[in-house]
């Protein structure tokens, strides 16, 4: 985010050439942006955890299939990997 976050307002009720105004974000909008950022960080952590769990499960499943005697090609064929 730039030092002073800004927004571009395009007022379509005005004539072309007079529509665009750049103004600083309001305190409320800055607070909203900060909330979005915090939520994004939380979601990032949740996604990373879910991804790691999924990868671990995949590796575990592949190991068990290999232990049953399946080749890497056969495992890929049935798992679509």
């Amino acid at each position: 985010m730039s030092e002073i976050p800004t927004k571009l307002i395009v007022d379509l009720s005005k004539p072309v050439g007079e529509r665009e105004t750049i103004v600083p974000l309001t305190a409320e909008e800055i607070a909203e942006a900060e909330v979005r950022q915090v939520e994004a960080e939380a979601r990032k952590e949740a996604e990373a955890l879910a991804l790691a769990e999924k990868q671990a499960a995949k590796e575990s499943a592949n190991s068990k299939l290999a232990a049953l005697g399946l080749s890497a090609e056969e495992i890929a064929a049935i798992t679509g990997a």
Partner: protein
Amino acid sequence: MGLLFLDRVTLTSPTNLVSFDNIPQTGLDLVVKSSVQSSTYNNVVMKINGYDLSTGYKNKVLYLRNNPLDGAVADPSGPPVIYGTEVADANTFGNAETTIFNYASTYTKQTISEFAAANSSEGLSYSTVGISYNSYFPAGYFSSTAAVSRVDFATITGDFSTGSTFSLYITTED
């Protein structure tokens, strides 16, 4: 049916939020074509009539990527991510077309659909953990029957980069 051009903005400096206000109510559907980039992997959120879509917005998203070739359907639980942008790169933008059907109607819930893609092999960055998707197809509805007169687009973190563009159209019967 025709597509009537209303306006196009090209950002001349980093901007956190772009707002189209007092949208004419004379069209059938509202269409926004955007081509945006950000200084970091990022996502874009949309607000309707000033309201954040984090409540009252239900959607599903189909993701497709080429390497590895796969697809997935998700029911996003986070904020109303509309589409991903891309890492800052002179030649790389996240491109999307977003449609709000019957936007001037006061009888129907506002239905939104979109398709998005990036002009690089890295794809769009829906996930902030490094999963990129080449195509991204969200669709959903917003539980409001108010006619849409304003739409805002904002990044989750940081700003839209200079050179990002937003074009606004309405569809007409002609």
